[in-house]
């Protein structure tokens, strides 16, 4: 399809701007632009059609099943959008007087209280803009803690090889050396490898539990005990909290700080390009190091983002928690785990799970053997699924599994959808032996076929330029 710039027609206009309701202000000549900006010229009808056409090019949770592993692509109730659209929240100015923002502060305080209860933490900040920013803030807490005790020798952060790529990146951005430890054959942290890595130079451990292959690390209490014994702190990556929220708390597992992807686990569509909210919770002994914010002030506190962070994402999270309630939150987690196990069992016998045991909210298939037998790769299966109106699972991740497909159905899918998906997987499995060529060239019925990913990575064109 054409870009909006390519659809521009000189003279087409939309009168979308409301009437000026404040005194007009004339900028000094030095600050005025000499030339008109090169904006596209379209009527409102044309703009509306353009964005509708864009919508038709993509697949969202509203279009169909979206089992993109590690991403928790669940359906988010409309009510969360409705509360976030309330004028009292959308029209508030961040510099407004305190007495005019009492309601907003109440939202932040209530959300903090409930999320601290869910995570087993004592305090929390909503400033970080998303997950990676939250990780960065959380690891800075650990850094500051050691510094405050004069313990500057702790230069290392331990990260298991099953971690999300952001974990080692975060540790490196915070100035730590990253120590990677291998997983055991069971996909869990290898305790001997952990013991060997621990020492007086270790600042902490970053861990996701359940981990990236969808397994709950049953040694978690031993893991956090060992790290603490060596003087390190434990950081919980909340990426996979959807599997355990309301059931088990990171604080009780022995973690000292945690980040949550509110825009993933607690409403707000994930993967929509933002905004997000990477709330960071911590135990009381770290609370003094939290950034300054609406609910936390005081000497020496710095900010990691302007004002109160992405406040409306917190409004959605609070709505989500209050509508699901004390019963609904753990029920959502239980159904996420149940759905994943159900789908895994239904697919078994064709594509095989990389780890044949009860999984949490997601599971990983390995197509290593299948690829050797049929020549059809995980990528080909993923592309073939598009022709069935399903979003492909995550591919080639985690790196520790060959020809991986990672599925996370989430709790918001019905048994009927899961049955249908399993049927499609079984059908494709067979097709690989009978007609691999069709799968190698799939999708055949999608708006976009196989984009040239190599060329896109090597020569990306990220900006439209006017033809001279």
């Amino acid at each position: 399809m054409k870009l909006i710039f390519e659809k521009s027609m000189p003279g087409h206009r939309s009168d979308l701007l409301p009437a000026l309701d404040v005194p007009a202000f004339d900028l000094p000549a030095s600050m005025k632009r000499a030339e008109k900006p090169a904006l596209p010229e379209l009527s409102e009808t044309e703009v509306s059609r353009h964005y509708t056409e864009l919508v038709q090019q993509v697949h969202g949770v509203n279009c169909g099943f979206y089992p993109l592993g590690s991403c928790t692509m669940k359906y988010n109730p409309r009510i969360d959008e409705e509360t976030a659209a309330l004028e009292g929240f959308t029209h508030v100015h961040p510099l407004a007087d305190e007495r005019d923002t009492a309601g907003c502060r109440k939202v932040l305080e209530t959300a903090k209280e409930l999320l601290c209860e869910i995570t087993g933490m004592d305090d929390m900040t909503f400033e970080p803009a998303a997950g990676a920013h939250g990780e960065f803030t959380g690891v800075l807490l650990i850094k500051q803690y050691h510094k405050s005790r004069g313990d500057e020798a702790r230069r290392k952060i331990i990260v298991p090889d099953s971690a999300h790529g952001t974990n080692p990146a975060t540790a490196a951005m915070c100035g730590f050396d990253v120590v990677n430890i291998a997983s055991g054959p069971d996909g869990l942290v290898d305790l001997d490898a952990l013991k060997a890595a621990l020492g007086p130079d270790v600042a902490g451990l970053m861990l996701t539990n359940p981990n990236t292959v969808g397994l709950f690390d049953s040694n978690i209490l031993e893991i956090t005990r060992l790290v603490h014994e060596a003087g390190g702190l434990c950081y919980y990556d909340g990426a996979n909290l959807n599997a355990v929220m309301g059931v088990v708390r990171p604080g009780d597992m022995g973690f000292d700080c945690v980040h949550l992807n509110l825009h993933k686990t607690f409403a707000t569509p994930h993967g929509g390009g933002g905004p997000g909210a990477g709330a960071v919770g911590c135990k009381a002994f770290l609370a003094d190091f939290l950034p300054r914010s609406v609910t936390m002030d005081g000497e020496g506190r710095l900010q990691v983002r302007s004002f109160a962070g992405n406040f409306l994402v917190v409004v959605k999270a609070l709505t989500y928690i209050l509508t699901l309630g004390r019963e609904g939150i753990p029920e959502a987690a239980e159904n996420a785990v149940l759905n994943a196990n159900y789908l895994m069992e239904k697919i078994k016998g064709t594509f095989e799970p990389a780890f044949d045991r009860v999984c949490m909210h997601e599971f990983v298939l390995t197509l290593d053997k299948y690829k050797k037998e049929t020549g059809v790769s995980a990528l080909d299966v993923a592309k073939s699924l598009i022709d069935y109106g399903m979003h492909p699972p995550t591919m080639y991740f985690p790196l520790i599994v060959h020809e991986a497909l990672m599925l996370e159905p989430t709790e918001t899918e019905s048994k009927a959808t899961l049955d249908e998906a399993a049927e499609i997987f079984r059908k494709l499995y067979k097709q690989g032996f009978e007609d691999p060529e069709t799968m190698r060239t799939a999708p055949h019925h999608a708006v976009i076929g196989r984009p040239d990913e190599v060329r896109a990575a090597r020569n990306p064109i990220l900006r439209w330029k006017k033809e001279e």
Partner: protein
Amino acid sequence: MNYPASLQYSRDHEWLSQEGDIAVIGITDFAQHELGDVVFINLPEVGDQVTAGEAFGDVESVKAVSDLLSPVTGIVAEINEELLDSPELLNDDPYANWIIKVEQVTDTEELMSAAAYADLCETEA
């Protein structure tokens, strides 16, 4: 798969050839095949120290980013700058397109012959 008999191979899928005192290092046909289309490469600088068994750079393919592990300890004498602009050369011919040359080699990992390496790839594949 092609594993020239004139080269030595590491368990981490790098090849090594000795040119006088200089160790020439690249990735094997198996490695480029497993990686898929290479889109970026990060290389050390001339004069950098490399350590046997540790990363000296990384390659990014459409699938993933992987470390390049050095089979020797020494000092980088030369890097193949052509790869920075055209990393796809690693897919085209991983043996003609060496990655780094190392001098003052003080330690070398245990390396394999082409036949032994072919057996290893057979079990990993």
